[in-house]
């Protein structure tokens, strides 16, 4: 019966979500270093979930990518996973962000897709702020 026991223990949050939620190392403000600081916000119309992405960009590189979230564990975990993945890489790598991949790895229930789309909105907003020329957006 281990097959039923584990989901029962974890509930709607898989190991990864629990780990990221418990220890969100990228939560908080970005020290932008000597680069430029960008902020992008997205929130649900009903004033439910909110997300704030804060980036420190130096020569097309995301020297820092941080978040603040008011929202459910899946959104916190998704934000943390995203910052973890893209911090230190080129800004235009952010285009590889994929809602469906994230939902799959984090086991986000479909009815919560709206929350993850919020994260996508924030990323798009961030991208549109950062100097458009350095980035190939197609």
């Amino acid at each position: 019966m281990t097959s039923v026991t584990e989901p029962v223990l974890l509930g709607p949050y898989n190991e990864q979500v629990r780990g990221l939620f418990q220890n969100p190392r990228h939560a908080g403000d970005a020290a932008a270093g000597n680069g430029r600081r960008y902020e992008a916000r997205a929130s649900e119309a009903t004033a439910g979930a909110q997300i704030l992405l804060i980036a420190g960009v130096t020569e097309g590189i995301l020297a820092a990518l941080r978040f603040r979230v008011f929202g459910c564990p899946h959104l916190i975990a998704a934000a943390e996973a995203t910052c973890e993945r893209f911090e230190g890489g080129a800004v235009n790598k952010l285009q590889e962000f994929s809602v469906s991949d994230l939902m799959e790895t984090l086991g986000v229930p479909v009815e919560k897709m709206g929350r993850i789309l919020l994260l996508e909105d924030a990323i798009q907003a961030l991208l549109s702020q950062v100097d458009g020329k350095a980035i190939n957006r197609n």
Binding site: L9, F70, G71
Partner: protein, 393 residues
């Protein structure tokens, strides 16, 4: 049992269901043990007679707890069924007396949806809102009454906030207007002193699993007064005065009987225990900034404490509180994620309602359980606020 942390759960969700009393479990198991003890109470032989006798004993035990005549108690499958039978059954039976009914906006869904069903049958329902303290002003009830009003249903203890309505005053008003009065006492029976000889209550619903009895068994009290009658919802073998047929569930009835007896014996002790726990919990949480206690502190069952916190999202708070087992909103809408309609009726915004945590505890809750709850709540709230954008705080 372990949680996802590897630590044992700390169960502070007694308003959802209580652990079963070990003595209740023993009595129920004993009735399974011997074949000759597990009969059909409708059978005309010794095994059936023994079942009937055990059921009579249980009815007496519950009668003693409520100071009610045993024959005025009808076994049901729980408060949901009792409430439906009381409200729908009485409204239909008394339809000739009028088709106007009164209830409150902060009732349990079993009550709320029974009235919804009656509306579809052509009854007219007035749903009164409480004040921000959760209490229904008696004058509002009085003002809502009409000549056609035939039934009022107001709960005793609210399952989300613990707020106590003044059922004595409400019942007295109803009697003076010749209106039937039902109260959903699922959260008070076995916890607060209830004397049905003295109280002007016509119909009262209860369920065993809220006072350390088994799930799936409850009762409807129906006063032996003229005009106090219900039309049955189920039809069949004639059990329970033809008001609730079906083979009597012997072990379940034995279980509620023992639970009633134990609850009666320990009523004062248990109440003082949860009063102490509540004081300790509130002392511990009181200092957290931006928190609100939902429902008034004065007319309140101390085994439930419901707290909203600014700038904290409810679902994340629930996870951050593990291994604490608490409720956000009513256990009944826990799955839906909708903000609690009860808290919204008390004037809370969606966000405030969603951040609410209901702590509920009972005789087996220890002070260290409470202390752990305080510690976990404080750190969870502060951690989530740190993560949140400023605007949400």
């Amino acid at each position: 049992m372990k949680t996802a942390h590897g630590s044992s759960p700390v169960y502070l969700d007694h308003a959802a269901t209580t652990p079963i009393d070990p003595a209740v479990a023993v009595a129920m198991s004993a009735c399974f043990a011997a074949r000759a003890d597990y009969g059909n109470a409708s059978s005309n032989h010794i095994v059936g007679r023994r079942a009937r006798a055990a059921i009579d004993t249980a009815r007496q035990e519950l009668g003693l707890l409520l100071n009610a005549q045993p024959q005025d108690l009808i076994w049901t499958s729980g408060a949901t069924e009792s409430v439906n039978l009381a409200i729908i059954g009485a409204a239909r039976f008394r339809a000739h007396r009028g088709r106007h009914l009164i209830t409150m906006t902060t009732e349990h869904k079993a009550v709320a949806e029974s009235f919804d069903a009656l509306e579809k049958e052509g009854f007219e329902v007035t749903r009164l809102s409480p004040g921000v303290d959760g209490i229904l002003p008696l004058s509002d009830l009085e003002a809502a009454m009409r000549d056609q009003t035939q039934l009022v249903s107001i709960m005793h203890v609210n399952n989300e906030t613990g707020v106590i309505q003044d059922i004595e005053a409400i019942g007295t008003l109803c009697r003076s207007r010749d209106v039937l009065f039902h109260t959903d006492a699922a959260q008070s029976v076995g916890k607060l002193h209830i004397d049905l000889e003295a109280l002007p209550v016509d119909l009262l619903s209860l369920t065993a699993h809220k006072f350390r009895g088994p799930q799936g068994i409850g009762a409807l009290y129906m006063a032996n007064r003229p005009g106090c009658r219900v039309a049955p919802l189920l039809h069949g073998g004639g059990q329970e005065r033809r008001l609730r047929p079906g083979t009597s569930a012997l072990h379940q009835i034995i279980g509620i009987g023992v639970a009633a007896r134990l609850a009666q014996n320990r009523l004062a002790e248990n109440l003082s225990h949860v009063t102490t726990l509540q004081a300790r919990l509130w002392r511990g949480l009181n200092g957290v900034s931006g928190i609100t206690r939902n429902g008034c502190a004065e007319s309140h069952y101390p085994g439930i404490l419901n707290i909203s916190a600014e700038g904290v999202e409810g679902e994340s708070l629930m996870l951050a509180l593990e291994p604490l087992c608490v409720a956000s909103g009513s256990a009944c809408n826990a799955q839906s994620g909708e903000p609690s309609f009860v808290l919204k009726a008390l004037g809370r915004t969606d966000l405030e309602a969603q951040s609410a945590i209901r702590f509920s505890y009972g005789p087996e809750t220890s002070r260290s359980d409470i202390d752990l709850a305080v510690k976990l709540y404080r750190s969870a709230v502060s951690r989530l606020r740190t993560i949140a954008p400023d605007a949400a705080a």
